[in-house]
């Protein structure tokens, strides 16, 4: 009864195409925003910030980037982490070599560099599709990481290859504390998520989805394929680049190529699959899921180990993690290929009818 939209009429196109057309949704999102921006910073522990919330938000941003490419434009990519790395290293170099560079601008610069590299590796998509494109993105993953390791100028000739990221200082305020970093990352992620949603419901999103569904027809109605595909790669890589910069500056504290391995690319792909391909909400849900599962698993196993005295080794936990991830991916693909976002939609529809069954 609570979730009925009866009586809420849309009197303008603006109202009809709004992101949250139903009043209950608007109230809900206001509550959520108040919670994450006000309540959480005041109540969460530093561990919660540093180990869970911050990586969750950063990887949501990366998942959003991948979703733009895969979900909206239909181009497969297994090289997400490499574009994140470009963003991180580019930001580092901007901060290092441009005196007085504001760090937010450096992040944007990192994103732009990643976008340029994304366009370069997106060029093959004009001729190749499907798995072949996936393999081409693997080329990007391996090649980019090799360049970042070998070319000394990029790492400022650091002998160990591990560079400490500079401090985040905005308008004189140092973002040292976990709560501060959390708020920064949350703000950036929220703004970019909004931008993504706007693009998705606008002409550019429709062009992408048209190219994804039937590119020949898209061409016939006047959509320029090359521009649409390369734009998708550019925007997607921009998001990944910014995420990568945040990953280094607000999470790891270091800028190193190993952090952006193929493994990370797969994790982000899993987030997109589990969360729901082609949805903004799905990027966040998937990231939350993939970030939380190892934590929950580890906690559960340790608890069982302690209470039942099973003597489980550390390595078993990491193997279990692999098995659980793998199993969950298969499970989701069988049960709900459209991911958690679809499950949420179904829940809302049931809520609309509640207490009636149908």
């Amino acid at each position: 009864m609570i979730y009925r939209e009866a009586g809420q009429f849309k009197a303008s196109y603006a109202a009809d195409s709004a992101i949250f057309p139903i009043r209950q949704d608007r109230v809900g999102i206001a509550v959520i925003l108040a919670f994450v921006f006000v309540v959480v910073p005041l109540t969460a522990t530093p561990y919660l910030f540093s180990a869970i919330l911050i990586p969750f938000l950063i990887l949501s941003l990366a998942a959003l980037g991948l979703n733009i490419l895969t979900g909206y434009a239909g181009q497969v990519s297994l090289g997400t982490a490499a574009f994140m790395a470009v963003g991180a290293f580019a930001s580092y170099n901007f901060m290092l070599r441009v005196p007085g560079m504001p760090i937010l601008l450096a992040f944007v610069g990192g994103g732009v560099m990643a976008a340029l590299v994304g366009i370069l590796f997106g060029l093959p998509s004009l001729r190749i599709r499907g798995f072949y494109l996936a393999v081409a993105t693997l080329a990007a993953q391996f090649f980019i990481l090799w360049v970042l390791t070998k070319v000394g100028w990029i790492t400022n000739y650091s002998s160990s290859g591990v560079i400490t990221a500079q401090q985040i200082v905005i308008l004189g305020y140092r973002f040292d504390a976990p709560a501060a970093k959390y708020l920064l990352v949350l703000s950036i992620a929220s703004i970019m998520a909004l931008a993504a949603k706007n693009m998705a419901r606008g002409n550019v999103g429709r062009s992408w989805m048209a190219v994804r569904d039937m590119d020949v027809a898209a061409e016939v109605i006047g959509i320029r394929l090359m521009r649409a595909k390369l734009l998708a790669f550019a925007v997607s890589s921009f998001y990944c680049g910014v995420a990568g910069a945040l990953y280094a500056y607000a999470y790891l504290g270091t800028v190193e190529p190993e952090a952006y391995s193929l493994d990370l690319s797969f994790r982000i792909l899993f987030m997109v699959i589990v969360g729901g391909v082609g949805t903004v909400l799905g990027s966040f849900l998937g990231s939350a899921f993939i970030t939380l599962v190892p934590v929950l698993l580890s906690v559960t196993v340790r608890f069982l180990d302690a209470s039942l005295n099973l003597g489980i080794a550390e390595s078993t936990i990491s193997n279990l993690e692999l098995m659980v991830f793998g199993g969950l991916i298969i499970f989701f693909l069988i049960v709900e290929p459209h991911g958690l976002a679809r499950l949420w939609q179904i829940a809302k529809e049931k809520l609309r009818l509640w207490p009636f069954p149908h």
Binding site: W146, V216, V324
Partner: protein, 297 residues
């Protein structure tokens, strides 16, 4: 000059090893239209199981069929729990499911047998063949040559299997269209179990050879990733293509590392095959032996 040939031949022979892994991919793709990302994990699992059984004091001639039986059982389970529920889903969904499967099998293998690096002794030494190095000054490994022989044999068997038998024809029908195959009464489930079982056997052979060469360790799963450029060159559906593709990738990888590597700081083996495949794709998207895709609107 003979150094060049040595590197070339070494590359070709290691390329055969890639082909073995690629063969497993081709089998499954030909017969079920599924791109099996978990092939590398299967290689790893097979090798680890074999070595693990050896550590349990099983002699070679018992461990081998036992491992084969395990692989067939695994195929059975995969068909039942993963392939059957996903029948007729788009290819990309099945591809992603096999990524999940890869993770699962890797975790399972390590949980069952532990993650220590082990050696594998097949009685073949990685030594140069004496009379060749005496005559030509080139070092060509006994092991590599034997591996090439095994691969050639396997390819011949599989080629006959696909083209001359009823089961082979049924497999090709299934690869084209699941529903149509069902409609003419081809028992999909049995076919899939057979194919994944055969792919498992191929994975076992590849696992034993790679394991003997590099040791049985987690890095074995990355060998599968190398097989992807092989498939791009050779086409996803061609058994001879997998061999030719493997040869090209193996040879070019080694030659590039030796001749171009020193100028750019080395380590180009990691990405060179991919970039090569990428360039190739731009010129000929369906691979050397693949079928041209014609789209009608």
């Amino acid at each position: 000059m003979s150094f060049f040939f040595e590197v070339l031949i070494g590359g070709l022979l290691s390329g055969i090893m890639y082909s073995l892994v690629a063969l497993g991919f081709v089998l499954i793709y030909k017969a079920s239209g599924v791109f099996n990302f978990a092939q590398g994990a299967l290689v790893f699992f097979a090798a680890l199981t074999f070595v693990g059984l050896g550590e349990l004091k099983l002699p070679f001639w018992l461990a081998l069929p036992a491992t084969l039986a395990v692989m067939v059982l695994l195929a059975f389970v995969i068909e039942r729990l993963m392939l059957r529920p996903l029948v007729n889903q788009p290819q990309i969904t099945l591809f992603m499911a096999t990524i999940g499967l890869a993770f699962f099998i890797e975790g399972l293998a390590q949980m069952m047998w532990g993650a220590n690096v082990r050696g594998l002794d097949l009685g073949l030494q990685d030594e140069p063949i004496q009379w060749i190095s005496d005559k030509t000054g080139m070092n060509i490994s006994k092991f590599d040559l034997a591996a090439a022989g095994v691969a050639a044999l396997l390819v011949a068997v599989l080629a006959i299997f696909f083209n001359r038998t009823r089961v082979g024809r049924a497999l090709r029908a299934v690869a084209d269209d699941h529903q149509a195959a069902l409609a003419v009464g081809i028992p999909l489930r049995q076919i899939w179990t057979i194919v994944w079982g055969v792919a498992g056997a191929v994975a076992l052979v590849a696992g034993l050879l790679w394991g003997a060469r590099n040791g049985v360790q987690y890095a074995l799963t990355f060998v599968a990733l190398k097989a992807l450029p092989v498939l791009i060159l050779g086409g996803f559906e061609s058994v001879p293509g997998a061999i030719v593709g493997g040869l090209i990738i193996g040879a070019s990888e080694k030659l590039a590392e030796v001749y171009i590597g020193p100028f750019v700081g080395g380590g180009i083996e990691g990405w060179f095959p991919y970039v090569l495949a990428l360039v190739f794709l731009l010129v000929r998207p369906e691979g050397l032996f693949g079928e041209k895709i014609i789209r009608r609107i």
